[in-house]
Point group: C2
Chain length 429, copies 2
């Protein structure tokens, strides 16, 4: 993509109402624009990252044996009246009547809808287990939306729902998702630490939040150093052992009762990016989602739900990956792998070489943002540092004479001079 044609409305200043760094950088880098409080449009750069995050989540859910569906945003109130949550849910649920005066709502979550689908489609224990998921926009009418996409009103979630005949099966489904979540976040270059969460009366030890570490995180977290040493994506990972390790957010942490030696206790700040939760027969009993069990009796199914904040992750990734100049995208979620900078657009040999390199990189399947604008080197460098592509390839008249271009790593700042050919081979796998 040529930057001169790319819809990338950069801002020089951070808007005053953007309090956290990811919100500031997403606005400055032209990733999003707000249309109402907590409601955003995703512009090309932001949309590209959102799609990459979404696709990683999708691939990992598919790999874990889950099946993708899509439920609607607008839901009938009657399903929520059945489950008993219609009255209980607060004003975060946006309610309205349709033109025939039927009460409807904008889905803040989808437990009722999926339970309804399940009870209409599945009749026998032989068709269990099931694990269905969707990646869908949800709406919660937050009283004070803030922090950009980190706490918006309209937000993209991946939500899974598992259905099992008994507790043993439900536990297997839970552990399967636990493992899939560790892999999902790791693939984005994030270390997510599972922390036991409050699950009310039913969950027991089957409720975990996944927190990623970022100095700007929303809450303080404490955890066993072992989390930094274990390969969280190993196939032989012992989930029970991992669950037994100490990890707590500040509201659960009790400094006096920590079962970890002081030198082994880490602390930092965390951002919640996922939550997995076993809720048993809460919805299946209320809504009559039963299957015929092995002995012919009707059995309410055991359910769990598993969420990942997909649009929130875009903000969280920035909180965990930035410096004073801008964003530093991990390669797996980067909107382009590299930025190609032509230092002197008015110099014909320079422009020819850059254009040639651009065409060959694109042909090799490398995603490139080519800054072909007639701007100063300073403006071009600042743009690339701000939008945070993992690598920069810089072509200038001086290097051209020496037969080299410069390749720069955005994260480390390390540069090397390579022949154009070698630079091409570096990225074209």
């Amino acid at each position: 993509m040529r930057l001169s044609r790319y819809f990338l409305p950069l801002l020089k200043e951070s808007p005053a109402d953007a309090q956290i760094v990811s919100h500031q950088l997403m606005l400055r880098a032209g990733m999003i624009r707000q249309s109402s409080a907590g409601i955003y449009s995703w512009l090309p750069l932001g949309f590209a990252v959102l799609k990459r995050v979404e696709q990683i989540v999708r691939e990992e859910m598919d790999a874990a044996g889950c099946q993708e569906i899509l439920m609607p945003g607008v839901q009938p109130a009657e399903l929520w009246q059945e489950s008993g949550r219609y009255e209980a849910y607060g004003r975060e649920m946006l309610r309205f009547d349709d033109r025939h005066e039927r009460p409807m709502l904008l889905g803040p979550t989808h437990e009722e809808l999926i339970t309804d689908i399940f009870r209409r489609c599945i009749r026998s224990y032989r068709d269990l287990p099931q694990n269905l998921y969707q990646i869908q926009w949800k709406f919660r009418d937050e009283i004070r939306p803030r922090f950009g996409v980190m706490r918006g009103r309209e937000f993209l979630m991946k939500d899974n729902y598992s259905f099992d005949l008994d507790l043993k099966g439900a536990k297997r489904s839970y552990d399967n998702m636990f493992r899939a979540y560790l892999k999902t976040f790791k693939r984005m270059g994030l270390t997510a630490i599972p922390m036991r969460a409050d699950s009310g009366a039913i969950g027991g030890d089957m409720s975990h939040e996944f927190q990623i570490l970022a100095s700007t995180g929303e809450s303080e977290v404490f955890f066993d150093a072992a989390f930094e040493e274990i390969d969280l994506t190993a196939d032989d990972l012992d989930i029970e052992e991992l669950k037994a390790l100490y990890a707590a957010t500040d509201d659960e942490h009790d400094a006096k009762a920590v079962p970890v030696a002081a030198e082994r206790l880490r602390h930092g700040r965390g951002i919640e990016v996922g939550h997995i939760f076993y809720f048993g027969t809460k919805y299946s009993k209320a809504m009559g989602a039963t299957v015929a069990g092995p002995d012919g009796d009707d059995v309410p199914v055991e359910m769990g739900s598993y969420g990942i904040g997909v649009s929130r992750l875009v903000g969280a990734l920035i909180e965990a990956n930035h410096d004073e100049k801008g964003i530093i995208w991990p390669e797996p979620v980067a909107p382009f792998t590299l930025g190609l900078i032509n230092l002197r657009a008015s110099d014909q040999p320079c422009t020819d070489l850059t254009g040639d390199l651009y065409a060959r990189l694109e042909n090799a399947g490398v995603t490139v943002l080519y800054d072909d604008r007639d701007e100063s080197p300073g403006v071009k460098f600042a743009t690339m540092e701000l939008i945070g592509l993992p690598f920069q390839v810089i072509v200038g008249p001086r290097g051209l004479k020496a037969g080299v271009v410069e390749v720069k790593d955005r994260r480390t700042g390390a540069t090397e001079e390579l022949s154009p050919e070698a630079a091409l081979n570096r990225f074209a796998h």
Copy 2:
């Protein structure tokens, strides 16, 4: 995917309220389930087709030089008050107040929002032309939703918006989309005939509906036989020549004034799947979307919008591709390329060979739905005919003895006997 694990709730009977064949078949084949009038959940088989249609649309819009964004579903009423449409739009627009009593609405379309984004981001004619698109769920509170996903309340649209400095540029953008639409529908195996549509006062000849032919189509259409003879995706296609050919829906058709010889006039039934529309400065003037022109004066931008009904296309594809036994998916949109049928799951050599073929096809990247259920051949054949995968590979004890499997083409019904090796090579490109 093994059918025994696939979430595919088939129905034996068509629900009484499903009046048209695509609605009946989508319900029977377990593609969708209704949650409220005109609002559906997409189950795995339906979702897979929806995603394939969406991806073809996306690739063709990208190839035409358009950039993808995503605007929110919930919009502020104030933008519609600015454009003057808030009062004018009927009860199809679902309106509500948020918890702070700000009037909002569920977007039935996005002209106002995109115009707002444009005016906040683009200031100079040098940044034109622009063509932005999204693939987003919209909501129209139809008084009588019907025909399944063909006229639902919540539906998936691809909508582009073009921005140009002058009419000449707008015409270029229009023709670019005209051409992209012909390619998009062709890639799905559909012939879409562009028909001049009523555009009110401003459109002139820049408003076209794209109608695909299906015997069950919603309106009668008349068109020049030339449409059947021209390669609509040729790079040297003359758009002006094409636009000059006669094509009209029944409400525009005047039998006495047709400029086509009787033997060259075709008629049939059509389903509208796309609409492109030039509307000039209607929104840019009302909302102040101007750029500084070459001479420094502020110029309101010339705009056009271009829609494709993505979820509607899933229904339209079925209307155009089915027989009395079920759906016949064109390969480019098929949820799986082939159905693998094990005629006798209780026969070990049969099951071994089928399992082996399944593994090798999947390894070769072929998408396969493997009917591994312990059901009769009749049930398995009926299932495959109903869900309409382009090919079936049938493994049975008799063929096994002769060293062959049967490959069946769902559309033609033609069968051939091949060695398992040859069958594998047939699909593994």
